[in-house]
Amino acid sequence: MSRTLWAASARHLLRRPAQLILALIGLALGVATITAVDIATASANRAFELSLDAVSGPATNEITAGPAGLDEQLYISIALREPELAPVPLLEGYVTIGDEAFQLVGVDPLAAANASAERAADGPQAIGTLQAAGAPRAQQPAPGTEALGGLDELRRWLTEPGAAIMAASSARRLGLTVGSRFEIAAGGRPFTAVLIAEDASGLPGREGLILTDIAQAQEWLGARGRLSSIELRAPRDAAGLAALTELRAQLPHGVELQPVGRRSRTNLDMTRAFATNLHAMSLLALLVGLFLIYGAVSFAVLQRRRTFAVLRALGATRLEIVRLVMLESLLLGVAGALLGLGAGVALGRVLIALVSRTINDLYFVVAVNTVALPHGALATAVGAGVVTALLAAVLPAWEAARIEPQLGLKRSTLEVRAAAIARALVLASVVFALGSGAIVLMTSRSLLAGFVALFLLLLAVAGVTPALLGAVAQAGARVCRRSPVGRLALGGVASSLSRTGVAVASLGLAIAAMIGVSVMVGSFRDSLHEWLIRTMRADLYVTVPGPGFGRPERRIEPRVLAALTSVPGIAHFTATRNAIVDSPRGPISIAAVSFTPQMQTGIELVGERDRAAREAWEAFAHGAVFMAEPLAWRLDMHRGSSLTLETASGARRFEVAGLYREYGNGRGGVLMDRDVYRHWWGDEGVSSVSLSLAQGVEPADVVAALRRAAAGHQAIFIGSNADILALSMSIFDRTFVITRVLYWLAAGVAAIGLTSSLLAWELERARELGVLRSLGLTPGGAAALIEAQTIFMGLVAFVAAVPAGLLAAELLVTVINRRAFGWLIDFHLQGAQLANALWLAVAAAAAAGVYPAWRSARASIAAHLREE
């Protein structure tokens, strides 16, 4: 195609830098949001994988058991029987140093050395078992080898109480040097550790680890004689497979042999729905960006309709015009994508903190210290930007190609056509809305289908908005008969649908999304609040502080428990053990509770009437379990199903006696009688205890007595039900910060779109404004006219968005959340949510109008009147 034609095109765009920049920012923001979510979720996954690799090293398989772990005697017998499998014992747990959580890994350097001797063919001898990911494993330095390089370090490791190794960067952050003593808290109990060496390798995955001798870890984690796992390295041949098969057959009941990391990775799968939701929100920002690019490109086409007509007369074919417009958009897309990629990396760093906090709150402990830029992120960002830009340009390019080779379409013809398109879009909206409903009705579990239905619904709003804007503006203009300026303002909006319609549609879409999301979050919050009030029947709750849900080391010491429960003023108490056990369907959280009859009322069995509920509780007392709704949804189970769990004596089926409402654990779990749990898992631990006080007893007095009872033995967390309520709600709010960030980004993109449209519109009607100014309209009056028009458009966007937003909320509450997490949420609508949306619509519109209004007020009347 002609170079001169390109030059004309580029110069046209560059002559209106404000519009170009706004379109670029809008697209870049959309792409940045996608990239940031990619980076944040990938970084969390990567951190998880790295920590897994760092702990498991070159192992191929692992032997694990339930919450009580493995007897270390099993390791000895395997080491003697199967030395070729190079067994290495490991004990893991979570500890805190100050406020920072670390994964404690207890290793046996001598066992590791033996294992390395077995692996001699693979490379140099290694004392430790830790390996970093990335480099070929056989050549990787083992952190134990590096840090325990000298005999002195090895001697200190074996003989000095509390000897530990951590990454040099972590030591620096904590202000520790070799030889420093520091306090480490495990399961609420404080211990003194000493840093005997630093791991200076700087390899990823090491930052969140603390290494110590296995015997030391057993003491700190309160797991004497126990192991978390035995790591194996089986040769990848028939002999290795045979050895594994033979070993599996010899393992006691309740002990599993599986590929390394499989169990832990199931945890990662739990975050999939969470990640899907984030990706969907980021797509929303890009969808709004699509409208923005559409607006920018279509304005660029409209402004050049005379040029295109001349070009067509000179012999430019329709295809050449289409190519020109599409290529402009393509370049815009590439530039926006590259800008967005850069901004996305920066935004990703912010989102990483939010995402990892949510994962730590809801799923598992992970320390995200490095930013992972997924391989596909670059392609996704550029692809998303380019595809969005090209999609957005299809209609304008078609419009440009249709321009007849004359003197260009008259503006009135364009507006007639825009009005016709607006009417057609109403029909399209009806189709979108019906399609959305049909998708919901025709699918029952697909999350993707749920999101498609949501996006169709939002598109339906966008489609209906231009027609609504035209109708309301026309009606308004009729009402304003006595005010020529008012009639002019509203009439201008109605007669310029080709300019105003798209901008208001994109704003309406963002506002509808905001209403939907905020009503969903509000409904969820209210449901959680009601559930907490119902569930928390006790006055005080005592638990062991520390990271990780269901971690075995989070256990109230028996003597501390005895002291706590004998504090005067306690009427009755309920002891709970939280644990995670294996099942053929992945790890299952168990809350084993010794219910008192009073506490039973706190459990809301879903859909059970009195008699059925009584029967369910009877079954529960006899060994059945209650299953939380989210888990039941995920496993597709219901009352009467049976759930197989790996107990200490092998797999056992438990009847599901009922489903209960549960918002406390994002992945759901099962409730079990504590006696049943003790019987099958042999775990006597207690993770928390809830205390109901006798009448007239002051909670503060009991709290003081509880603190005295535990003092010197174990750190405990004591909270009143009000404290727990506040803490739970704050975790909830934290979880949805990221959602709010994303919908604000979408609204920001929409506001930019509106500004861009207004600037283009202002350019188009500069002459009209010049005439008005020459007739006596003051600069302030011109600015007020534009502001009034934009605020009016914001209001229309809000009006269009309200019903769609409420429908979107219903979809989010009953379809998306259900399909993503299995939660059943009651719909709660608050006036403040709509008021916030109204405020956002008006504020975004008013802000979008500021610059165009300022420009109009400053413009020279003469210059405008002179323009041809």
């Binding site: 002609s2 095109s9 005379r306 001349v310 074919t317 007849e404």
Partner: protein, 213 residues
């Protein structure tokens, strides 16, 4: 349906020029659109060098315009984001001619219309007369067989129009192209080899003229 043109019969030889005059709304612009292949007639034939324009499909008519027809408009219709030289060059590039040859030809024609020194200027820096000179250069640079001019002096003052008219007719004649000009300007009409008046959808000889269609 209202017939704007009815049994218009018009024939022109190479190097000849014709002026069409008529009242507003008489169908002059429609006639130009038909001649240029922008519109298609309901009946009859329009031939250029033996090719039946009315029967051509749209892409072929576009190719015909870029190769064989030049346009001069009342409001110049130059591309505001291009320089004087680029505006002229564009017509050659659309025809497929690029590089030094195209540039040489463009420069030559700009010199011929008296704007050689303004080649790098942007068009909005030019006066109306200068802009029309650029438009004339653009209409002729690809050496079309037919030049269609729609009120080429309609937006110019009388003095400027007096300069433009001979320039246009002379350049067309030099290239042995045909010129059809729609105008209200008597001086411009008088400069044409033949003059017709478009009235009631038909071409008539103006009163007092011996030439006809």
């Amino acid at each position: 349906m209202h017939a704007v043109l009815d049994e218009v019969d018009l024939e022109l030889q190479s190097g000849a020029s014709a002026a069409i005059v008529g009242r507003s709304g008489s169908g002059k612009s429609t006639l130009l659109n038909l001649l240029s292949g922008i519109d298609r007639p309901d009946g009859g034939t329009i031939e250029l060098d033996g090719r039946e324009i009315g029967q051509l499909r749209e892409p072929a008519r576009t190719v015909l315009r870029r190769e064989s027809i030049g346009f001069v408009y009342q409001f110049f219709n130059l591309i505001p984001t291009l320089s004087v030289e680029e505006n002229v060059l564009l017509a050659l590039e659309l025809k497929g001619m690029r590089g030094a040859q195209a540039r040489h030809r463009t420069r030559g024609l700009l010199d011929r219309v008296g704007l050689g020194s303004r080649a790098a200027s942007t068009v909005d820096m030019l006066s109306g007369g200068e802009q029309q000179r650029v438009a004339i250069a653009r209409a002729l640079v690809h050496e079309p067989r037919l030049v269609l001019a729609d009120e080429p002096t309609g937006n110019l003052d009388e003095a400027t129009a007096r300069e433009i008219v001979p320039l246009l007719t002379e350049l067309v004649r030099e290239r042995e192209a045909m010129l059809i000009v729609v105008t209200h300007d008597r001086a411009l009409a008088a400069a044409a080899d033949r003059v017709w008046e478009l009235r009631d959808g038909r071409l008539h000889e103006p009163q007092g003229s011996s030439e006809g269609a």
